[in-house]
Amino acid sequence: MKLANSLPVRNLKGKPVRTAVLLLLTTLLTLTVFGGTLMIISLKTGLHSLESRLGADIMVVPYEATTKSNLETIVLQGATGYFYMDNEKYQKIASCEGIGQISAQFFLASASSGCCSLSVQIIGFDPDTDFTITPWIKKSYAQNLQKFDIVVGNDLNAFVGDTLTFYGVDCHVAAKLDKTGTSFDTAVFTNSETIKALIQSSVDKNMNEFKNINPDAVVSCVLINVAEGYTVEEVLNDINIHVKKVKAIQTKDMISGVSDSLSGIADIISLLIAVVWIAGIIILLLAFTMSVNERKKEFAVLRMLGASQRKLAAMVMQEALLVCLLGSLLGIGLGLLILLPFNQLIEELLNLPFLLPSAGQMLTDTIAAVLVSVLSGGIAVSASAFRISRMDTALILRGEN
């Protein structure tokens, strides 16, 4: 007999309401297990992405930046803002002991209207020394950026070949970056030459908060990787002691707020998964037990017609596994349907870096979720299957009248 007409399938089709309820249960079970783990994985991938985007041990900013402008919202949450310090600070920092890699960055926020196409954070880097942004840009754009070339974050509504205007200066979109799940998705990147021209133009138009600033004499922040043989703390303290009016921050500390709330959310989701999973197994157990009680007569008839105890147990097991398989596929489909289109929204709601994992990782998660729910169904039905194989056929056949 073909699978589509086999007894377990016919039994499932013959009781559409019961089957639908079981399907719904397993769908919800898988949705939680799959969606939940995918969310945890995405948050972790996002954090990892943020770490590698920051890519430096230490970030040095002007002291006011830590008080006046909210540094963390700029770096971590994609708020716009900018601040500057004298170039001389950069020289002083560079001469500190234990500096491995060092590079300056330049910030500018574009205005929300008038002379600018978009309101974004513009980050300029020095192509000669940069070690955080260039490796990542290289993935999308192999060439060097020319003057007035810009690279846009993945979430921005701008595409390669577009021209964006900032403070009256036309810039050419050379590349669009891969998604990072971090504040960098809403930023624009360019080299130091270009951003200096933009800063100059904003000053000329009297639109920069810092009047009379000379773009060639300032930097916004300095990123440092510690040389081998030195600890981050040593270098950090050295800079904070010897260079005035700047603040050296360990990037790990900056992210620690993010990773704390991330692990908080991950804990909540894990708990939710555990609760739903246990409740799911219990409900499935009850559902199967009830369904088997109600079907005693049917099993007795099959026994009478020559079905062995094992055959009956196998039949019930197959029904359950079929339902769980179908339900888990539905649950995964539903999970993808929610997570794929709305991951942006989730990112905004959680205010945490959120990056869907690679296809391979997703496939692993999918297979794991299917296994978990099919296994749960198997566990839940095994008691019923055992009970059926042990039932007293004669008693049931007699008991009907």
């Binding site: 007999m1 007569k297 008839v301 020559g306 004669a394 056949l397």
Partner: protein, 226 residues
């Protein structure tokens, strides 16, 4: 000798009545030849169904042996006994026995499909023809009357041409005319070589049978010529 029961006894524990043990069938000997049709009568509760279930391999006797084709069926494993019942014993139980998610034809073909054998639909249809339910083959059991359901169960029991037919009140919800049809059908099966034992309350069907037995409080006696 197709069927032979040696001193089979069935005792039940009746906790509710506080009389520890109750004997539904007492040390009963019974034989049934191939090609013979026996009828078993008796009052309600006298142990007829219990007796029949022990013969069909569905209820292990408290003591005694049941042999079918020289095989002691209760010494077989569950798997072997099930396969044996599937092939050699046709059981028509008391009460309803339809599977409601299958249609009538599929219900009748179950003895084959249970063992993944190709359903012999022509044979099933021929049986249905004889029992006058051929027109209902695509209907579902919920759409059938009690009598039609009963005839479906009879067709199903006969499908694999078993050597032994055990029927528990096969005509309890049929009218006189259909009762006659069913008993004539059972008689014909016996004429064609099967051993048939039917429990019945009908009084005027002994004409079809070769032997008539009566169960009284768990004791079986053969009734001599009518």
């Amino acid at each position: 000798m197709l069927l032979k029961a040696e001193k089979i006894t069935k005792q039940f524990l009746r906790e509710s009545r506080n009389t520890n043990q109750f004997c539904a069938v007492q040390e009963t000997d019974f034989t049934l030849e191939a090609g013979s049709f026996a009828i078993l009568t008796g009052r309600s509760g006298s142990g007829k169904s219990t007796f029949l279930h022990m013969l069909s391999g569905l209820m292990t006797p408290t003591s005694g042996r049941v042999l079918i084709q020289e095989k002691e069926i209760y010494s077989l494993s569950d798997k072997d006994l099930s396969a044996f019942r599937n092939q050699h014993i046709g059981v028509i139980p008391q009460g309803q026995s339809a599977l409601y998610s299958l249609n009538v034809l599929e219900n009748i073909c179950l003895p084959y499909t249970l063992y993944h054998k190709n359903a012999h639909q022509e044979e099933a249809l021929a049986l249905m023809e004889q029992l006058e339910i051929a027109h209902l083959q695509a209907a579902y059991p919920s759409e059938l009357s009690g009598g039609e359901l009963r005839r479906m169960a009879i067709a199903r029991a006969f499908l694999r041409k078993p050597e032994l037919i055990l029927a528990d009140e096969p005509t309890s919800d049929l009218d006189d005319e259909n009762t006659k049809i069913v008993f004539a059908f059972l008689q014909k099966a016996a004429r064609e070589g099967a051993a048939v034992l039917a429990v019945t309350h009908e009084t005027d069907v002994s004409q079809f049978a070769d032997k008539v037995f009566c169960m009284k409080a768990g004791v079986l006696t053969e009734q001599n010529s009518l």
